[in-house]
Amino acid sequence: MHLLVCGGTGCKASASDALEDKLTKELEEKSLQDEVQVVKTGCFGFCEKGPIVKVLPDNTFYTQVKPEDAKTIIEEHVIKGRKVERLLYLDPETKMHVTDSKHMGFYKKQIRVALRNCGFINPESIEEAIARDGYAALAKVLTEMTPDQAIQEILDSGLRGRGGGGFPTGLKWKLTAKEKADQKYVVCNADEGDPGAFMDRSILEGDPHSVIEAMAINGYCTGATKGLIYIRAEYPLAITRLKIAIDQAREFGLLGNDILGLGFDFDLEMRYGAGAFVCGEETALIHSMEGERGEPTFKPPFPSVEGYLKKPTNVNNVETYANIPVIFLKGANWFNKIGTEKSKGTKVFALAGKINNVGLIEVPMGTTLREVIYEIGGGIKDGKKFKAVQTGGPSGGCLTEKHLDTPIDFDNLIAVGSMMGSGGMIVMDEDDCMVSMAKFYLEFTVEESCGKCAPCRIGNKRLHEQLELITKGIGSKADLEKLRDLCNVIKDTSLCGLGQTSPNPVLSTIDNFYDEYLAHVEDQKCPAGVCKDLMQYVISHDECVGCTACARVCPVGAIAGERKGPHTIDSAICIKCGACIEKCKFNAISIQ
């Protein structure tokens, strides 16, 4: 019997370490440590209800387990074989406890390819990775295939880059392979800058060996003997696990000179980001690894011709790499049967925002947004109404109700004005103001623009200012058209992908929520009730009993009125802090 405890960043923050200790101690007290093993794994994906404990072999899935619950799990489940009812997942629809993960709506539609080992193995043990076919693909490629044959396999699989661009991976490898140079490099892009996305982090925390193995295969195929992993410094746990994994792989002769005694040399080094979103762009990333400011440069030359230290360099994303070993083990023809015509395989998404099941999911390409949001995500939080979903992070767009049945793949998302991006998926409900959302993303872009080219540096700043005015109710219909024009100019004239995509959130919200923009500028109203400057706090004289509670709490003295008499708010003084609403016991104050 195994007790799997999630040791991902999310669950660790909710005390999963203490829980693991407690489980181990309880088992020792009952002298069961030889029969039952506690394994700290990577993310199960169901972060909303962490910490998670999964019991194997029966797949029992306990949610929100506290260290105090350890004793009950051991005494009831392990010893007496009775599931602990109160810790089981409660299906929000049927109001029934679900006995195991196979029957949870969250997992039913998922296929785990890139995440195949996350939540199943202890990521700090190479033995467990090997027991689940880790490094078998590397051995197969090194013994049975020439680099060209191996590249052909990836081409046949139809795999496209998961870092955002969707460039065919096999083709990229081929381009690097055909360059002649004394030294080539392969690079893993683990910068994951999209705020609200945590796919790559979870893979590295849950299954670092699959990425290491894939990089070695990539090295063999392209003729590179050195690999670099560029990882953001904000991911300490992923960094630690990677370091452990690299050391173990070296010890087992799976990295270093003469790998598996087959005459192939390949080794890895780590490089750290320092908090700059633009460094996820491959040319910027390369400059950052060289110790420079992470500013993008014009392509061509592409990294495959002139990359790190001016040598041919192949850059791939973490999730792209995580797919590679499976393709060799199960074959390109297995892989290319999953997905849609032009997008093969699966995609990992980080579901977040106003959704019931925040977490990490992996679905076949072609799954619809509706399936993801309602069947897997469990619908909108607190029974509110769905309003929009943003895919592609700050580079993507807001999609609405009418897009819910669009099958998700690279090309479909672009066709409806968004993009796949790296896999962040943020769900918004009726309480979210779309102008404010666009402003939020622009704020991010303005902060993260490297400043090298004018359209992005100045244009995005202007966009942000314009949006700021709209949230204050200042502007006209004509201004909205100007806004659209400016967006198109920025898209057309920026140097790198950051500027070329940064207006997408603005364009897509104007397209899909034009009325909401109009309401701001023409009626001075924010329909979602978010934009502070457009709100008025009003006391209803019918309801007000004159208790003076609001007048006393108001920090700026905006409320006047006699004791037992009706009170009034002077909206010229009011700073819209909301303190009075909370204080009023008679529901007399409302926002209009």
Binding site: K49, G291, R293, V358
Partner: protein, 160 residues
């Protein structure tokens, strides 16, 4: 850069020079060296940048250029308890801006500043990847999940 010179602790300076040597004083290792330097001094004042420039044999302007490019590097000493409010999208959608406002109000400082008594400093960060717990706040290494504006006082009280 600043004209007021601060005195660096000689033991820490020695450590810094050692760190540079451990990277073979290579200019290409600048970012790694700065990570080390910041972990030694807690921040990167002009004086530290000058030493790094000297050791790696690059212009001080280049070091300064890199330090100011990356948001992870700071030239202002952090508070004893650095507070970081996650303002990634998931946290924003779940109300991180209101939590941030409450921290600003209570500490009477802006983002990027350190309180006069040096106890707290306030910064924003983009996604620690614990979006299931949004909105997320970190104080030092400790992660607080599902923070509401009302919960801010309670968090601060833990460190009083």
């Amino acid at each position: 850069m600043t004209s007021v010179k601060i005195k660096l602790n000689p033991a820490e300076v020695a450590k810094l020079r050692e760190a540079c040597a451990s990277f073979n004083n290579e200019a290409g290792e600048l970012i790694n060296v700065l990570h080390k330097a910041q972990s030694i001094f807690g921040y990167l004042p002009a004086e530290v940048q000058e030493i790094v420039a000297e050791e790696l044999n690059v212009a001080v302007a280049k070091v300064y250029g890199v330090v100011t490019f990356y948001s992870f590097f700071t030239m202002i000493p952090k508070g004893q308890h650095p507070i970081s409010v996650c303002t990634g999208t998931a946290c924003y959608v779940r109300g991180a801006d209101k939590v941030l406002d409450e921290f600003k109000r209570r500490l009477n400082i802006q983002v990027g500043e350190t309180a006069a008594d040096g106890k707290f400093s306030l910064s924003c960060l983009r996604c620690v990847g614990a979006c299931g717990l949004a909105p997320v706040v970190m104080v030092g290494e400790k992660v607080y999940g599902r923070v509401s504006p009302d919960g801010v006082a309670e968090i601060l009280a833990e460190y009083e």
